[in-house]
């Protein structure tokens, strides 16, 4: 009797800890499936390839959104991720030129670019005290200027071996999905189980409290920005391995800046900082992928999907504020 009561309690607690975004996800998925079965061929539920594709679609946005979640928990924001994605894609294929021997060099260079961009963002925000929105908007413009001045179109290519990241499989599971999973788990672990994670929540929750507790808040935020840029680099590497060559518009066309922010807040991370996590974010990313797939399936004008995305962003965030108001009552 008592054990069942406890387990039931534990179950309830578990349910309560699931980010509410997953209820939206189920809603969107079920609604989408019904639409698909009624008006199209119903492959969204019957064809495992399409299901897998939903996940693969999530990889590019998912990885960078994990990084975005870090900076937003720190009460900052990173708009430069889209350009870091572009720079990574272009530089990778430009350096590799289809030569497998140059893969390590290319990866090393883009990782360095990521670290430097994150550090610059972090320094501008913490040392020059420039608002994060403006600071990362500034670096975005700078990166875009450099990129557009140097490259106009697809440059170079990646060797076949590098395409393994985008197309390879281990058994039935695509490598890219495993990569996303690893990034997610790492993100969760850092946030929920390490001193750094706790310090990030502290810094984002209230800088003054964090400072008075002896945290080096500047360093905490700079590291968050480096993490964010590095996830953008990973997304860039994934995209270039799928496209086989990089072009300067890859990141901006994918709207990785705004979409990573949108999925993070859909997932329940507060824009004000100090609250949230990566599991919510990935729920938001999956919602976006399901919507993409649905519109593909139905053959509807793809621009229309933005309307649905917009509605979901607003509804999700509204539901959080209403919920928290009720909790306060």
């Amino acid at each position: 009797m008592t054990t069942s009561a406890i387990s039931q309690n534990g179950f309830l607690r578990f349910i309560r800890r699931i980010p509410p975004v997953y209820f939206f996800l189920i809603l969107v998925f079920v609604g989408g499936a019904i639409l698909d079965v009624t008006f199209a061929d119903g492959q969204m539920v019957t064809n495992p390839t399409i299901l897998t594709n939903i996940l693969v679609r999530s990889v590019a946005l998912g990885i960078v959104a994990v990084g975005q979640t870090f900076v937003i928990i720190g009460a900052s924001i990173d708009l430069s991720v889209a350009l870091v994605v572009s720079v990574t894609a272009v530089m990778t294929s430009f350096i590799m030129q289809g030569d497998p021997a140059k893969v390590p060099l290319a990866i090393g260079v883009v990782l360095a670019i990521g670290v430097v961009t994150g550090m610059v963002n972090g320094f501008i925000i913490t040392k020059l005290k420039v608002n994060a929105f403006i600071a990362t908007l500034g670096t975005t413009l700078i990166l875009r200027g450099i990129l557009n001045a140097s490259f106009a179109n697809f440059k170079g290519s990646v060797p076949r071996s590098f395409e393994y990241f985008g197309y390879g499989k281990i058994g039935p599971v695509p490598v890219s999905i495993l990569a996303l999973l690893i990034v997610l788990l790492a993100g969760w672990f850092i946030l929920a189980r390490t001193k750094y994670g706790f310090q990030l929540y502290g810094t984002g929750g209230n800088v003054e409290v964090a400072r008075l507790s002896g945290l080096r808040t500047d360093r905490v935020l700079i590291i968050a920005h480096i993490i964010s840029s590095l996830t953008a680099v990973l997304t860039g590497l994934f995209l270039v391995s799928r496209l086989r060559a990089g072009a300067p518009w890859i990141g901006t066309d994918g709207v990785y800046d705004l979409e990573s922010v949108a999925t993070t807040v859909i997932g329940g991370t507060a824009l004000a900082g100090g609250k949230g996590g990566v599991w919510g974010t990935i729920g938001g990313v999956l919602i976006f992928s399901v919507i993409d797939t649905l519109f593909n399936q139905m053959g509807v004008n793809p621009f229309m999907k933005n309307i649905l995305r917009g509605v979901i962003v607003i509804l999700a965030v509204a539901s959080y504020t209403i919920r928290s108001r009720r909790e306060a009552a």
């Binding site: 390490t194 706790f198 929540y201 502290g202 929750g205 003054e208 507790s213 100090g274 009552a329």
Partner: protein
């Protein structure tokens, strides 16, 4: 036994070295000498209150002791050693911790995460979660509050008092020897204050020196052994509580005798017709509220924290409106669903939280005063009939009326003292010609002198025919100011008491021990 122990500790105290000592501390800010050669000794096992008006230098002194400021000259001596703290965390690590007036907790994190923020037990950066909770439990147990607060509870789910205790736990977990509490009871109810009292006794028994800053003298006399009085940055005196009366301390603080704290109450002839009538009104927080407010009277509203005091003010002013029931203003049935309506119906609301609801800190005094007038002007009126010219005359008049002390009305209001800020808030509503004033904690965090002048102003308002509803958690204020007292309990009006009811009577109703019918005829009536 206990008597003996007491004697022994007292004897010890006289022999003991001071735990913390400030010697000839001077601190100058641009234009102000904040502290002028102040020396105080704080002994272990003792609660030492530091009192003084706003601007007396209490906060500056505490900030120096806790490492937030460095003194221009003079020394801080901790256990016989000169120390200089470069950063608050320096002070913490050497055993001096401070609990500020504003809460310094992360509401979205757990108790354990808050207490050990930045010091979590970890191996190679990975936190040992069971150990973290165990350490937290140990701290809570040491304080005797382990049953009340769980290490894994989210801080935002705790009561104000429990949050306060978490702050103290955090300070204690640094192994502090000196604990500074800056107005720790400002937001607590009497029962919670009692709890804090017990906690302080425990900490004293451990040999800690506790420095206590408070505006409530009654509390200071309850809790402290010694009182140091500062005035205008200068040391006035350090006295033993048992040797002095509150009036002596007030005299030291203000340099004159405040013979009457409160203006005389209104007489029946002053009260006019009912201007505000509420009938059976309810919302999520309030149940069956019925009340009448007359011209020329001060209607006090007392009650414990969470009894619905503030919610009542918010409902009347349309911030969180009533969902059912009737509101009549000057005999006409009205719906007050937003402050927009309330202001147009001639109501003014002096809020509890001045900083976030009463003023625009970074705007000049002038604009703060004119806020309501501008809101009342028609949409294009302000542009066409510019308020700047008008304000040239109006602002100084209002300023003089409420006695704002400033060299210029163009100064940002954030640089005024709390008392002066409150006067500007008052002026803002005077400007709008409001006939019904709601005050929520009108003198919270305000020094003695400004307090008295605010009380006088409230009474003057009623003489001009204004109706005042005044909420306060300070019973002396309720008793000293109110022509009638409503006592709230659990979202209801639990009783109405006559002027000059005793504190005991009010508390009995507020704690739900008595309802309105027998409160006045109670055996308790007249006692005290």
């Amino acid at each position: 036994m206990t008597e003996n122990q007491k004697n022994i500790t007292e004897e010890k105290n006289t022999q003991l070295e001071p735990l913390l000592e400030v010697q000839n501390i001077t601190k100058r800010f641009p234009g102000v000498l904040a502290l002028d050669k102040v020396s105080v000794r704080f002994y272990p096992g003792e609660v030492h209150a530091v009192v003084g008006e706003n601007g007396a230098g209490k906060s500056t002194l505490m900030k120096i002791v806790s490492g937030a400021y460095t003194p221009d000259s003079g020394d801080v001596v901790l256990q016989g050693e000169k120390v200089s703290f470069a950063h608050p965390i320096d002070a913490y690590s050497k055993g001096v911790s401070i609990i500020y007036q504003e809460f310094n907790l992360l509401p979205e994190r757990t108790v354990a995460q808050n207490i050990f923020l930045g010091r979590e037990p970890a191996r190679m950066g990975v936190i040992d979660m069971p150990q973290l909770n165990k350490n937290t439990e140990a701290v809570l147990k040491e304080m005797g509050v382990e049953k009340m607060i769980s290490p894994t509870a989210q801080v935002s789910s705790l009561s104000v008092a429990a949050q306060q205790i978490v702050e103290i736990a955090k300070a204690i977990s640094y192994d502090s020897k000196v604990l500074i509490m800056d107005e720790p009871t400002a937001a607590l109810t009497n029962i919670e204050v009692k709890m804090l009292d017990d906690l302080v006794k425990r900490l004293k028994a451990r040999g800690m020196a506790i420095i206590f800053i408070s505006h409530r003298l009654a509390e200071v006399f309850d809790i402290a052994e010694k009182i140091t009085v500062l005035k205008d940055g200068q040391f006035v005196n350090t006295v033993n509580v048992k040797d002095v009366a509150p009036a002596d301390v007030v005299y030291m603080m203000v340099g004159r005798v405040l013979d009457h704290y409160f203006p005389t109450l209104g007489s029946p002839g002053d009260f006019g017709e009912v201007v505000l009538r509420v009938k059976d009104a309810s919302n999520d927080f309030l149940k069956d509220i019925s009340l009448e407010l007359r011209r020329g009277e001060v209607l006090g509203v007392a009650g414990l924290q969470g009894s619905g005091r503030t919610e009542l003010a918010q409902a009347l002013f349309g911030v969180v409106p009533f969902k059912s029931g009737e509101i009549e203003i000057r005999g006409k049935s009205q719906s007050v669903n937003t402050p927009f309506h309330a202001i147009r119906l001639g109501m003014g609301f002096v809020t509890e939280d001045r900083k976030s609801e009463g003023i625009f800190p970074k705007q000049p005094i002038r604009d703060n005063m004119l806020m309501t007038i501008r809101a009342l002007q028609s949409f294009f009126g302000y542009v066409l009939n510019d308020g700047v010219r008008k304000s040239r005359k109006l602002v100084p008049t209002l300023g003089k009326q409420v006695d704002v002390r400033t060299d210029s009305y163009d100064r940002e209001i954030q640089f005024l003292s709390g008392g002066n800020q409150q006067k500007v808030v008052l002026a803002k509503w005077l400007a709008s010609d409001a006939g019904i004033f709601i005050f929520d904690e009108p003198t919270r965090g305000i020094d003695v002198e400004a307090k008295a002048s605010i009380h006088d102003m409230i009474r003057d308002l009623t003489k001009k025919g204004v109706a005042v509803l005044m909420i306060s958690s300070e019973l002396p204020e309720i008793i000293g100011m109110s022509d009638r007292v409503l006592v709230m309990h659990d979202g209801r009006i639990a009783g109405e008491l006559a002027a000059k009811s005793s504190e005991t009577n009010i508390m009995l109703v507020a704690t739900g021990h008595q309802n309105r019918n027998d409160a006045n005829t109670s055996v308790w009536a007249g006692k005290e």
